[in-house]
Protein backbone atom coordinates (compact mmCIF):
# COMPACT_ATOMS: atom_id res chain seq x y z
CA UNK A 1 0.00 0.00 0.00
CA UNK A 2 0.93 3.64 0.14
CA UNK A 3 2.68 3.32 3.48
CA UNK A 4 5.58 1.50 1.86
CA UNK A 5 6.58 4.67 -0.01
CA UNK A 6 7.90 7.37 2.32
CA UNK A 7 6.88 10.98 1.82
CA UNK A 8 10.42 12.07 1.02
CA UNK A 9 10.41 10.09 -2.26
CA UNK A 10 7.66 12.31 -3.61
CA UNK A 11 9.50 15.40 -2.40
CA UNK A 12 12.74 14.30 -4.08
CA UNK A 13 10.96 13.74 -7.39
CA UNK A 14 9.27 17.13 -7.24
CA UNK A 15 12.53 18.86 -6.23
CA UNK A 16 14.35 17.38 -9.22
CA UNK A 17 11.52 18.39 -11.52
CA UNK A 18 11.54 21.93 -10.10
CA UNK A 19 15.26 22.38 -10.71
CA UNK A 20 15.06 20.88 -14.19
CA UNK A 21 12.42 23.53 -14.90
CA UNK A 22 14.75 26.23 -13.58
CA UNK A 23 17.54 24.93 -15.80
CA UNK A 24 15.27 25.24 -18.81
CA UNK A 25 14.23 28.70 -17.71
CA UNK A 26 17.88 29.80 -17.57
CA UNK A 27 19.13 28.26 -20.80
CA UNK A 28 16.26 28.50 -23.28
CA UNK A 29 15.94 31.42 -25.68
CA UNK A 30 12.59 30.86 -27.31
CA UNK A 31 9.64 32.39 -25.42
CA UNK A 32 7.42 29.32 -25.79
CA UNK A 33 10.04 26.96 -24.36
CA UNK A 34 10.46 29.32 -21.40
CA UNK A 35 6.71 29.11 -20.86
CA UNK A 36 6.99 25.30 -20.94
CA UNK A 37 9.68 25.43 -18.23
CA UNK A 38 7.39 27.55 -16.07
CA UNK A 39 4.67 24.92 -16.48
CA UNK A 40 7.13 22.28 -15.26
CA UNK A 41 7.89 24.37 -12.15
CA UNK A 42 4.21 24.89 -11.34
CA UNK A 43 3.53 21.19 -11.80
CA UNK A 44 6.29 20.15 -9.39
CA UNK A 45 4.87 22.48 -6.74
CA UNK A 46 1.49 20.81 -7.22
CA UNK A 47 2.99 17.38 -6.53
CA UNK A 48 4.45 18.78 -3.30
CA UNK A 49 1.12 20.14 -2.11
CA UNK A 50 -0.77 16.94 -2.87
CA UNK A 51 1.81 14.66 -1.23
CA UNK A 52 1.89 16.79 1.92
CA UNK A 53 -1.90 16.71 2.03
CA UNK A 54 -2.06 12.93 1.72
CA UNK A 55 0.72 12.11 4.18
CA UNK A 56 0.55 14.77 6.87
CA UNK A 57 -3.12 15.86 6.98
CA UNK A 58 -5.18 13.06 5.42
CA UNK A 59 -8.43 14.29 6.98
CA UNK A 60 -8.27 17.78 5.50
CA UNK A 61 -8.22 18.96 1.91
CA UNK A 62 -6.14 22.15 1.92
CA UNK A 63 -3.38 20.87 -0.37
CA UNK A 64 -5.93 19.43 -2.75
CA UNK A 65 -7.70 22.76 -3.14
CA UNK A 66 -4.51 24.74 -3.41
CA UNK A 67 -3.44 22.49 -6.28
CA UNK A 68 -6.78 23.12 -7.96
CA UNK A 69 -6.31 26.88 -7.64
CA UNK A 70 -2.73 26.65 -8.90
CA UNK A 71 -3.93 24.76 -11.97
CA UNK A 72 -6.49 27.50 -12.64
CA UNK A 73 -3.86 30.24 -12.24
CA UNK A 74 -1.53 28.32 -14.57
CA UNK A 75 -4.27 28.18 -17.21
CA UNK A 76 -4.86 31.94 -16.97
CA UNK A 77 -1.12 32.60 -17.09
CA UNK A 78 -0.65 30.41 -20.17
CA UNK A 79 -3.50 32.16 -22.00
CA UNK A 80 -2.13 35.66 -21.31
CA UNK A 81 1.47 34.62 -22.08
CA UNK A 82 0.51 33.09 -25.41
CA UNK A 83 -1.46 36.16 -26.45
CA UNK A 84 1.58 38.29 -25.59
CA UNK A 85 3.81 35.93 -27.59
CA UNK A 86 1.53 36.15 -30.63
CA UNK A 87 1.46 39.93 -30.37
CA UNK A 88 5.28 40.06 -30.15
CA UNK A 89 5.55 37.73 -33.13
CA UNK A 90 3.28 39.99 -35.16
CA UNK A 91 5.50 42.99 -34.44
CA UNK A 92 9.00 41.47 -34.79
CA UNK A 93 8.23 38.21 -36.65
CA UNK A 94 10.35 36.20 -34.25
CA UNK A 95 10.13 35.29 -30.57
CA UNK A 96 13.75 35.01 -29.48
CA UNK A 97 14.19 36.73 -26.12
CA UNK A 98 17.56 38.11 -27.18
CA UNK A 99 16.29 39.88 -30.27
CA UNK A 100 13.21 41.46 -28.72
CA UNK A 101 14.91 44.25 -26.78
CA UNK A 102 13.33 47.51 -27.89
CA UNK A 103 12.37 48.52 -24.35
CA UNK A 104 15.74 47.60 -22.87
CA UNK A 105 17.70 50.83 -23.29
Amino acid sequence: MLSTIPLSYFLVVSTLMFFIGIYGFLTRKNLITILMSVELILNSVNINFVAFNRYLFPKELQGHFFSLFIIAVAAAEAAVAISIIISVYRKYSNIDVERVDTMKY
Partner: protein, 170 residues
Protein backbone atom coordinates in the same frame (compact mmCIF):
# COMPACT_ATOMS: atom_id res chain seq x y z
CA UNK B 1 8.21 -4.95 -4.36
CA UNK B 2 4.50 -4.28 -4.39
CA UNK B 3 2.62 -3.06 -7.45
CA UNK B 4 2.14 0.32 -5.76
CA UNK B 5 5.88 0.87 -5.49
CA UNK B 6 6.39 -0.31 -9.05
CA UNK B 7 3.83 2.20 -10.30
CA UNK B 8 5.52 4.97 -8.31
CA UNK B 9 8.93 4.18 -9.78
CA UNK B 10 7.55 4.01 -13.32
CA UNK B 11 5.73 7.33 -12.99
CA UNK B 12 8.59 9.19 -11.34
CA UNK B 13 11.11 7.79 -13.82
CA UNK B 14 8.93 8.95 -16.70
CA UNK B 15 8.53 12.38 -15.10
CA UNK B 16 12.28 12.86 -14.64
CA UNK B 17 13.37 11.54 -18.04
CA UNK B 18 10.78 13.45 -20.01
CA UNK B 19 11.25 16.70 -18.11
CA UNK B 20 14.97 16.58 -18.92
CA UNK B 21 14.03 15.97 -22.56
CA UNK B 22 11.56 18.87 -22.43
CA UNK B 23 14.22 21.39 -21.47
CA UNK B 24 16.99 20.00 -23.71
CA UNK B 25 15.23 18.98 -26.92
CA UNK B 26 16.37 20.91 -29.99
CA UNK B 27 13.03 20.72 -31.77
CA UNK B 28 10.25 22.75 -30.23
CA UNK B 29 7.29 20.56 -31.20
CA UNK B 30 8.96 17.51 -29.68
CA UNK B 31 9.54 19.46 -26.49
CA UNK B 32 5.80 20.13 -26.32
CA UNK B 33 5.02 16.42 -26.68
CA UNK B 34 7.53 15.55 -23.94
CA UNK B 35 5.80 18.12 -21.72
CA UNK B 36 2.52 16.32 -22.42
CA UNK B 37 4.02 13.02 -21.22
CA UNK B 38 5.27 14.72 -18.02
CA UNK B 39 1.83 16.13 -17.27
CA UNK B 40 0.10 12.80 -17.86
CA UNK B 41 2.53 10.98 -15.53
CA UNK B 42 1.81 13.61 -12.90
CA UNK B 43 -1.86 12.78 -13.25
CA UNK B 44 -0.86 9.15 -12.70
CA UNK B 45 0.80 10.14 -9.41
CA UNK B 46 -2.39 11.90 -8.33
CA UNK B 47 -4.36 8.74 -9.12
CA UNK B 48 -1.86 6.78 -7.04
CA UNK B 49 -2.37 9.12 -4.09
CA UNK B 50 -6.12 8.53 -4.52
CA UNK B 51 -7.17 12.05 -5.49
CA UNK B 52 -9.24 11.15 -8.50
CA UNK B 53 -10.91 14.51 -9.03
CA UNK B 54 -7.59 16.35 -9.03
CA UNK B 55 -6.15 13.85 -11.51
CA UNK B 56 -9.12 14.36 -13.82
CA UNK B 57 -8.68 18.13 -13.61
CA UNK B 58 -4.99 17.71 -14.37
CA UNK B 59 -5.74 15.59 -17.43
CA UNK B 60 -8.42 17.86 -18.86
CA UNK B 61 -6.99 21.27 -18.01
CA UNK B 62 -3.23 20.72 -18.29
CA UNK B 63 -2.87 17.87 -20.75
CA UNK B 64 -5.98 18.78 -22.68
CA UNK B 65 -6.01 22.55 -22.54
CA UNK B 66 -2.63 24.11 -21.94
CA UNK B 67 -0.61 21.72 -24.11
CA UNK B 68 -3.01 22.20 -27.02
CA UNK B 69 -2.70 25.97 -26.57
CA UNK B 70 1.09 25.71 -26.56
CA UNK B 71 1.11 23.51 -29.67
CA UNK B 72 -1.17 25.95 -31.47
CA UNK B 73 1.11 28.85 -30.70
CA UNK B 74 4.16 26.83 -31.79
CA UNK B 75 2.51 26.12 -35.12
CA UNK B 76 1.63 29.80 -35.48
CA UNK B 77 5.08 31.17 -34.71
CA UNK B 78 7.75 28.74 -35.93
CA UNK B 79 8.57 26.22 -38.59
CA UNK B 80 8.10 22.62 -37.52
CA UNK B 81 11.44 21.45 -38.85
CA UNK B 82 13.37 24.37 -37.38
CA UNK B 83 16.14 23.40 -34.94
CA UNK B 84 17.58 25.57 -32.21
CA UNK B 85 21.27 26.29 -32.35
CA UNK B 86 23.08 24.62 -29.42
CA UNK B 87 23.58 26.79 -26.34
CA UNK B 88 27.03 28.09 -25.50
CA UNK B 89 29.18 26.03 -23.16
CA UNK B 90 29.51 28.79 -20.56
CA UNK B 91 25.77 29.27 -20.30
CA UNK B 92 24.71 25.67 -19.83
CA UNK B 93 27.69 24.82 -17.65
CA UNK B 94 27.09 27.54 -15.09
CA UNK B 95 23.31 27.03 -15.16
CA UNK B 96 23.86 23.32 -14.53
CA UNK B 97 26.18 24.06 -11.59
CA UNK B 98 23.70 26.47 -10.00
CA UNK B 99 20.80 24.06 -10.51
CA UNK B 100 22.72 21.05 -9.19
CA UNK B 101 23.78 22.97 -6.09
CA UNK B 102 20.20 24.02 -5.38
CA UNK B 103 18.85 20.52 -5.96
CA UNK B 104 21.43 18.85 -3.71
CA UNK B 105 20.85 21.36 -0.91
CA UNK B 106 17.08 20.93 -1.06
CA UNK B 107 17.21 17.13 -1.24
CA UNK B 108 19.59 16.93 1.75
CA UNK B 109 17.24 19.14 3.77
CA UNK B 110 14.22 17.04 2.78
CA UNK B 111 15.91 13.76 3.71
CA UNK B 112 17.19 15.06 7.05
CA UNK B 113 13.86 16.53 8.15
CA UNK B 114 11.81 13.99 10.06
CA UNK B 115 8.21 14.20 8.87
CA UNK B 116 5.77 12.51 11.13
CA UNK B 117 3.72 10.68 8.57
CA UNK B 118 0.27 9.39 9.37
CA UNK B 119 -1.00 7.33 6.50
CA UNK B 120 -4.32 5.97 7.59
CA UNK B 121 -6.64 4.46 5.05
CA UNK B 122 -6.00 6.52 1.94
CA UNK B 123 -9.55 7.40 1.05
CA UNK B 124 -10.77 9.34 -1.92
CA UNK B 125 -12.65 12.55 -1.01
CA UNK B 126 -15.99 12.20 -2.76
CA UNK B 127 -17.42 14.82 -5.07
CA UNK B 128 -20.01 15.97 -2.54
CA UNK B 129 -17.36 16.96 -0.01
CA UNK B 130 -15.30 18.74 -2.67
CA UNK B 131 -18.27 20.71 -3.97
CA UNK B 132 -19.46 21.69 -0.51
CA UNK B 133 -16.05 22.93 0.56
CA UNK B 134 -15.41 24.80 -2.69
CA UNK B 135 -18.51 26.90 -2.15
CA UNK B 136 -18.70 26.85 1.64
CA UNK B 137 -17.91 29.86 3.80
CA UNK B 138 -17.52 28.02 7.12
CA UNK B 139 -14.29 26.77 8.65
CA UNK B 140 -13.36 24.44 5.80
CA UNK B 141 -14.85 26.50 2.99
CA UNK B 142 -13.00 28.02 0.07
CA UNK B 143 -15.64 30.39 -1.30
CA UNK B 144 -13.38 33.46 -1.30
CA UNK B 145 -10.46 31.97 -3.31
CA UNK B 146 -12.99 30.38 -5.63
CA UNK B 147 -14.53 33.76 -6.42
CA UNK B 148 -11.12 35.40 -6.78
CA UNK B 149 -10.09 32.69 -9.26
CA UNK B 150 -13.30 33.25 -11.22
CA UNK B 151 -12.59 36.99 -11.50
CA UNK B 152 -8.97 36.24 -12.43
CA UNK B 153 -10.02 33.90 -15.23
CA UNK B 154 -12.46 36.48 -16.57
CA UNK B 155 -9.77 39.18 -16.47
CA UNK B 156 -7.27 36.88 -18.20
CA UNK B 157 -9.80 36.16 -20.94
CA UNK B 158 -10.42 39.86 -21.58
CA UNK B 159 -6.70 40.62 -21.43
CA UNK B 160 -5.74 37.94 -23.93
CA UNK B 161 -8.43 39.07 -26.37
CA UNK B 162 -7.34 42.70 -26.10
CA UNK B 163 -3.61 41.94 -26.41
CA UNK B 164 -3.84 39.51 -29.31
CA UNK B 165 -6.30 41.66 -31.26
CA UNK B 166 -5.03 43.05 -34.53
CA UNK B 167 -4.25 46.74 -34.33
CA UNK B 168 -6.10 49.00 -36.70
CA UNK B 169 -3.98 49.94 -39.66
CA UNK B 170 -3.86 53.68 -40.17
Amino acid sequence: MSSHELMFYIFSGMILVFSVLTVTSQRILRAAFYLLVVLISTAGIYFMLNYQFLAAVQLTLYAGGIVVLIIFSILLTSHISQKFEPIGFKKWFFSAIAVAAGAILTILTVIKYGFNETVTSAQNPDMQVIGRSLLGYNKNGYALPFEVISVLLLAAMFASIVIAKKEKSE
